[in-house]
């Protein structure tokens, strides 16, 4: 079976890889590109642990073939911080103790960042529904929602300045 050759942009860097046609983008990220920050929780698009941003939309990378990444702009958890400067969502997760085991955390952070990219003033309900595709079994979601709302408040404050 011939491998696909794919050229794409991941976290702002041009990347080329070979993959088998049935490999998902998640398989490629983790097993070919050593970007293991995106996690496999279910392989059926139900848990969000594999969430990435593709051309501006959050998607489950387990439901995208590696070959589909051709020519697209992909952002993974590894691209959210800038060097040693954490994104406000990441910082607030730490301050609010919005993670316990941390396995779902990359998916939540990517999804939350995408929410705040388009809406800096989400309500609690909007935030919960936006994040309904990210399962957490440890926290009961309380501190996660607080962290996201606090990150939004901080980003609004900075935007206002």
């Amino acid at each position: 079976m011939a491998k696909q050759h794919v050229s794409t942009i991941i976290n702002g860097e041009p990347v080329e890889f070979l993959c088998e046609p049935q490999q998902t983008l998640l398989d490629v990220l983790r097993d070919e590109l050593n970007l293991t920050g995106s996690k496999e929780g279910c392989s059926s698009g139900d848990c969000g642990a594999c969430t990435i941003i593709a051309d501006g939309n959050i998607v489950c990378s387990c439901l995208m073939l590696g070959a589909e990444a051709e020519g697209r702009k992909i952002t993974t958890i590894e691209g959210i911080a800038k060097g040693d400067k954490l994104h406000p969502v990441q910082q607030k997760f730490l301050e609010h103790a919005a993670l316990q085991c941390g396995f779902c955390t990359p998916g939540f952070i990517v999804a939350a960042k995408a929410l705040l990219d388009q809406n800096l003033n989400p309500t609690e309900e909007e935030t919960r529904y936006w994040l309904a595709g990210n399962l957490c079994r440890c926290t009961g979601y309380d501190k996660i929602i607080r962290a996201v709302l606090d990150a939004a408040a901080e980003m609004r404050g900075e935007a206002a300045r």
Binding site: M1, A2, Q4, E20, P21, Q22, T24, S43, S44, G45, D46, G48, T51, A54, N57, I58, V59, C60, C62, L63, M64, L65, A67, E68, E70, A111, A114, L115, Y129, W130, L131, A132, G133, N134
Partner: protein, 294 residues
């Protein structure tokens, strides 16, 4: 899948040729939110995958006089962002938007949801209720068919080898015409509909229904256009009596199964409840839409 091949044609004709000439099971790929799940579980083992998303005319929404044209592979996020379509047919847009999570919405499409042919598909009842049609490309050229003609049974469509949907044509609402879609799920998100109901009504100046379509999902092998329910609405205002007859008609039409998502008895009852609730919303929206949408 040892023999899987993948290609991404950039024109409709290229895609038709690739699908028609494929050896073995060939699947068009839209958002992949059903296909990849089925491949992973082994339920479907395609040998050829044709990604349709590089064909420009399959992604995007445009308005023509009298109708919206929605590219078959347009993802839910793009549909939801289209203010004009959302204002015109909130029921259709909500139906699509209810599918899965925000992540699923980044990929899921009307054509994918329709052609997956699950009886519980969320975007289909309101589409049928709006009398939308699908434009299909194939080896024999293009043809147009009402959306309700596409699904023939669970997992089965009337599409021939080499055919795929290119776009949907959705007529614009007339004055005092509006829709609504509701579904019941056990949680607040992320579930497959236990029952779904799309209601599309046209009212006269006095608030009396002059035309209606009521479509139920997840209570039969395919979506059900419930004529008796439409008849219960036509010629009437939405009062307690009408609601009661609507409820009964919806329940009578149900032919559901017992499965891990719901029982026959439960689905039947809730079909009646949703028909009433969706009708209330559709009537309210229709009454507020005096000028229609042009």
């Amino acid at each position: 899948m040892p023999n899987l091949s993948f290609s991404a044609p950039t024109t409709v004709d290229e895609a038709v040729r690739a699908l028609a000439s494929a050896q073995g099971l060939a699947k068009p790929l839209s958002g992949g939110t059903d296909l990849l799940v089925q491949m992973r579980s082994g339920r479907v083992r395609p040998e050829v995958i044709i990604d349709l998303k590089r064909i420009p005319e399959l992604i995007g929404i445009r308005e023509e006089s009298g109708r919206f044209v929605v590219g078959a592979a347009t993802p839910g996020t793009m549909v939801y962002e289209n203010e004009s379509l959302t204002r015109a047919w909130p029921g259709i847009v909500e139906g699509l938007d209810l599918i899965g999570s925000e992540q699923i919405q980044g990929r899921a499409s009307l054509a994918g949801n329709l052609c997956n042919a699950s009886p519980a598909a969320d975007s289909v009842p309101a589409l049928i209720a709006a009398r939308a049609t699908a434009v299909i490309a194939g080896p024999g050229g293009r043809r147009e068919a009402p959306v309700e003609a596409i699904v023939t049974g669970p997992g089965r469509t009337s599409l021939e080898k080499g055919e795929f949907i290119v776009e949907f044509h959705i007529p614009k609402p007339k004055p005092r015409q509006a829709d609504a879609y509701l579904r019941f799920i056990p949680r607040t998100e992320m579930d497959i509909a236990v029952v779904g109901c799309g209601v599309n009504v046209t009212l006269d100046v006095a608030g009396i229904c002059t035309d209606a379509r009521v479509v139920l999902g997840a209570v039969a092998p395919t979506q059900l256009i419930v004529n008796e329910a439409a008849e219960a609405l036509k010629g009437h205002r939405l009062d307690e009596d009408t609601l009661s007859r609507l409820d009964a008609a919806a329940q009578r039409a149900c032919k559901p199964i017992n499965d891990k998502r719901g029982t026959i008895e439960y689905r039947t009852k809730v079909a009646g409840v949703l028909a009433k609730r969706a009708a209330i919303i559709a009537f309210e929206r229709a009454a507020g839409r005096v000028a229609g949408v042009h």
